[in-house]
């Protein structure tokens, strides 16, 4: 039986958190939690110990980039998928350079979400094995 993977969904929009969580519930062996801002997300990293974080790039107080940098510094094994409507190459490259593993452009189709989730889980598996 495969191990259960923990997924944390971080977004200041209730709508996005609900939407993403619902989509994740379609999958077996996933444990899901959510955070409405960067500070709560960092607390949940310590208590929930997520394997994968779906992280909104633009949030009040603490932005996604700051959260990303902090998580990658303390827990580099966590896979981070950025979610944003930002589509400018320069800004996307900032997230990549900070360690983001994937980038999901909002609004996204269910199919694309599933594809990125699959990629994240594959990356996670190879990190755990390697």
């Amino acid at each position: 039986m495969p191990n259960t993977n923990r997924i944390l969904v971080v977004d200041d929009s209730d709508h996005v958190r609900i939407l993403v969580s619902k989509r994740l519930k379609h999958r077996d062996f996933l444990e899901i939690d959510t955070a409405q801002n960067g500070k709560v997300a960092l607390e949940k990293v310590k208590t929930f110990h997520p394997d994968v974080i779906f992280l909104d790039a633009v949030m009040p107080e603490m932005g996604g980039l700051e959260v990303l940098q902090s998580v990658k510094k303390d827990s580099p094994g966590i896979i981070i998928v950025m979610m944003s409507s930002i589509s400018a190459r320069e800004e996307i490259l900032q997230f990549k350079e900070a360690g983001a593993d994937a980038y999901l452009l909002k609004p996204f189709e269910d199919q694309k979400f599933d594809e990125v989730l699959e990629k994240a889980l594959t990356l996670l598996k190879s990190k755990k094995e390697g």
């Binding site: 589509s87 400018a88 190459r89 320069e90 996307i92 490259l93 990549k96 983001a100 593993d101 994937a102 980038y103 999901l104 452009l105 996204f108 694309k112």
Partner: protein, 106 residues
């Protein structure tokens, strides 16, 4: 188009004659389009072409001699090249990406 010096036919409008190297057209400083020798303004962007052509340079053009196009110093050329690189880098970084292009980055 025919070279005014050696009369060789050229397949396309180009800067210099394939046969004798005589100037064939005027290159626009702004957009790089090659225009006919007689042109006063660039056909692509409207930029006025070499002032010397309007002040007697037309005779030189008719005889197929290279025109006294704007002469740049080495440092001016370097500045232009740097400026071009900066503009290109700016355009590149501000480029809007699709999800597929983003996927290729990661």
């Amino acid at each position: 188009m025919q070279c005014m010096r050696c009369k060789t036919e050229q397949e396309v409008l180009q800067k210099f004659c394939n046969e004798c190297g005589a100037a064939m057209g005027l290159t626009c400083d702004r957009c790089g389009t090659v225009n006919r020798m007689e042109a006063r303004h660039c056909g692509a962007c409207g930029q006025p072409l070499v002032a010397s052509l309007q002040e007697g340079g037309a005779a030189a053009a008719r005889h197929g001699r290279p025109l006294p196009v704007r002469q740049y110093t080495t440092s001016e050329i370097e500045e232009l090249l740097i400026l071009r690189r900066v503009i290109k880098a700016g355009e590149e970084s501000a480029k809007i990406l699709t999800q597929n292009e983003i996927d290729n980055l990661f």
